[in-house]
Symmetry: C2
Subunit: 321 residues, 2 copies
């Protein structure tokens, strides 16, 4: 839930006047997105999302995100499409923050993903990877294997307060993954945060992907591994092989896995679990008194990590070569 | 900012299926309303607001509010119009709460009301009073003069921590108003909470009134007095006579004041200031640690009350007979 910045009517009217979308009819803060302020914007031309980028997004990264969404939309991916202002710019400034207007996407996110959703997700993810293959900009993944040791250092001394023995487990895991991490897998644009709340469905049909603010250039199969973690565990953290198989089959119906990708999947899934465990642990240990947002429990990802540690081959995810 | 209740897709789909508005395309929590959970609902039939009534609204009052909005809308007042389900009901249940679907109203609320807005407001308020004149249901004002002593009792012991001498001032004010309060003014449906955030404008034109959850049967001129308090003070709490005159002239261009209403205005304005001072004081003293919502500062209404205490005749508000 997030509207951090209030925008005056005058500022809003002035900002929107720079676009060819008619006068503002309504603008309502929406309780969505944790990093930015989002507003539903109704103008004479229709419904849009107005986003104000708050502190957690580096302004230097915004051109990558905005141009990527535009590129993907032009390739037919259903994602928020940045609207260009009259001067051609897709990024402006409003209330002292970088701001953009993007298309409004219908759909709702699925609280309990089922097989059919995972199959749709797999196809959409592969389509995203293919559509991104000729995107010319690059952005390093700021939360990949080479950053985990530094991230861990920030929480190491308090990790055991969350779960006894956690500090040791994490240190060993970072050692292992740094050594074993695959470095030459097919790479390109990945979403890197494709959790259920970033994927919209209308009924059982996927209607769009949102929130590209972790997107970067990295191994494509790592994106699949993130989705395995985010979509294929039950609320009790049992692994749902049916969902995993549907996700992977859906993906491979659009883009084939290489042998190396296939074999790397258990390792990538461990890495993905570790990445979210480390950031959640960091946020969990640093929640300010009286904070507005409850941080996500890191223990969920500790359990997922432990599951992947016990996996020896990609076939354990329901994947057949 | 308020979305208190999460609604599952399945529950939402089932609820909306009871209406003749097509499938759900999108549903986003909106950061508006402090008492209830509000969602922007997009269906095949268009855009709506879905409201879930949380604890602070008495379910027994809901038929009054819902039927009133329907009545006013039928009379041409631009307000949220409850949509009837296929079975005719305008109130249902969703996620264990009473719930209603109402029309989506365009417009934005004005942060710094000017003369033109107050003139529009005055006209709209008088139109609301006229449109309500043949509404058959009644609801007593639960926050009027006979409730102030009880409300004060809840905060009396701590009032001086907010402002030295406040307890005394309030006790004397309640004594005075109980004795002097006019009891036979023209009465009918009043909104009773028509603050700027409940009045939408598109440009300088009033586009709608929202949030009827304090509406009740009381002196019509008391509604005007509430608006004088809410719309006619500058941020530094100087009284803006230009705004007040515009508001009153706007009102009287649609519905004439009686002599008794005219003469009672200073007293009613004192009472309105006291009512909001008392409820704000109560909320202020009871804000839980780490609360999500910052309560409104009661001192603003203490200053307004003091202003009205110094007013001897309605002409001080810019009003001429």
């Amino acid at each position: 839930m997030a509207v951090y910045t209030e925008v005056s009517d005058e500022d809003l009217a002035r900002f929107v006047a720079g676009y060819d979308i008619g006068d503002v009819l309504a603008c309502k803060g929406i309780a969505e997105g944790v990093e930015n302020s989002n507003f539903l914007l109704h103008t004479r031309a229709g419904y849009f999302i107005l986003t104000l980028y708050e502190k957690r997004v580096d302004p230097a990264d915004l051109p990558f995100f905005i141009d990527l969404m535009r590129h993907l939309a032009d390739k037919g991916i259903s994602c928020p499409t940045p609207v260009a202002a009259r001067d051609g710019a897709m990024l402006g400034e409003l209330a002292g923050r970088p701001a953009a207007i993007v298309s409004f996407l219908d759909g709702m996110w699925v609280r309990r993903p089922k097989r059919v959703h995972c199959a749709e997700l797999g196809r959409a993810l592969a389509e995203l990877h293919l559509a991104g293959s000729d995107f010319s900009m690059r952005r390093a993944n700021a939360l990949s294997v080479e950053h985990w040791r530094g991230l861990l250092a920030l929480s190491l001394d308090q990790a055991d307060t969350v779960s006894p023995g956690l500090a040791d487990l994490l240190a060993r895991e970072v050692d292992h993954l740094e050594g074993a991490w695959p470095r030459d897998l097919p790479s390109g644009v990945i979403h890197a945060d494709l959790f259920p709340d970033n994927v919209f469905f209308i009924g059982e049909e996927l209607s769009g992907l949102i929130d590209f603010y972790f997107a970067c250039t990295d191994a494509l199969a790592y994106d699949v591994a993130i989705c395995l973690n985010a979509w294929c565990f039950e609320p009790d953290l049992a692994f749902n092989v049916t969902n995993a198989r549907a996700l992977l089959d859906g993906y491979r119906s659009v883009r084939a896995f290489t042998d190396a990708e296939f074999e790397s999947l258990p390792l990538l899934a461990r890495g993905a679990a570790l990445r979210f465990l480390l950031t959640r642990l960091h946020d969990w240990l640093r929640v300010p008194e009286g904070a507005l947002v409850t941080p996500k429990d890191p223990v969920e990802y500790l359990k997922k990590l432990r599951f992947h540690q016990g996996v020896s081959s990609a076939s354990d995810y329901g994947l057949v070569t």
